[in-house]
Symmetry: C2
Subunit: 142 residues, 2 copies
DNA sequence: CTGATTGCAAAAATTTTGCAAGCCT
DNA sequence: AGGCTTGCAAAATTTTTGCAATCAG
């Protein structure tokens, strides 16, 4: 579905913003980029990224996550627990979330594009991405 | 804009679900209901609610927040930090979030209704509420 | 080289839990 | 009265910070 930016491109964005490419950041970037639909919390990211770069420290993951959020590469979202999970910030994310069991289904279409246009005009905002979530009960939980 | 349920009505929902109305819960409920557009984190809620009911303990706030979330009266969302903030779960929430300064503008209409209908059919979901957020840069930050 | 970045360990902050006492119905 | 709820204090988690050593450019 969505065309994701390659890890190379993301590295480029890091550089353009004046940050260094370190093994720690690269590992986090790879983990994040390895699965378009991943929703990983900081602890997950640490575990995954350590497979690539074992020396990685926990604090560094937080710092990398913060940096990547600042660069609009990631975005934290709520998925039922008290810890944030991070998703790719690009484009749109469309979730159907079950309040009962927590299942998350992704769906494709949404007409946020049109609305986006008029909001840009109305509020003078420059819009880059969006999140649309519906909450309810899934088939199984009914 | 949205017609909010009165505190009385919410109390009723608590009761119907078989929970007791205690001063702690009432205080949290009042805080939550005092401002339609509040985005409070647990610590904020504790501080506010203690003005109403000073004996209130922190753990109780977490328990109340959890309960109210379960009853679909509240919903946690992430707004750029690592702690969740709680918003009224009713109906839809439509945010224009500035990545730069964090400002959140609410806008009124969105096309979620139509989509909601088709998603219910397609996935067998029973949809109760939704969240639509656009991310970008506000007028001032450009 | 040189400042940005890291890992570590310690400090903070947040969230969860156990339990006796207290309160709602 | 009886059981749900509470506040407290302690445990568990999660997040942030200070700093010397290291690394990318």
């Amino acid at each position: 579905m969505s065309t994701l930016q390659s890890t190379d491109h993301l590295i480029e964005r890091l550089r353009e913003a004046g940050y260094k490419l370190t093994p720690a950041r690269l590992a986090v970037l790879k983990v994040i980029n390895s699965d378009d639909h991943a929703h990983l919390n900081p602890t997950d990211v640490l575990a995954q990224a350590r497979k690539i770069y074992p020396k990685l420290g926990r604090a560094t993951v937080y710092r990398a996550l913060e940096l990547l959020t600042e660069l609009r590469i990631l975005r934290p979202i709520y998925m039922g627990e008290t810890t944030p999970r991070f998703i790719r910030a690009e484009g749109g994310h469309h979730h159907l979330v079950c309040n009962e069991c927590g299942e998350v289904i992704e769906f494709a279409e949404c007409m946020a594009g049109d609305l986006s246009q008029s909001l840009q005009e109305e509020f003078g905002f420059e819009i880059g991405s969006h999140l649309l979530e519906f909450y309810g009960r899934c088939r199984a939980c009914k």
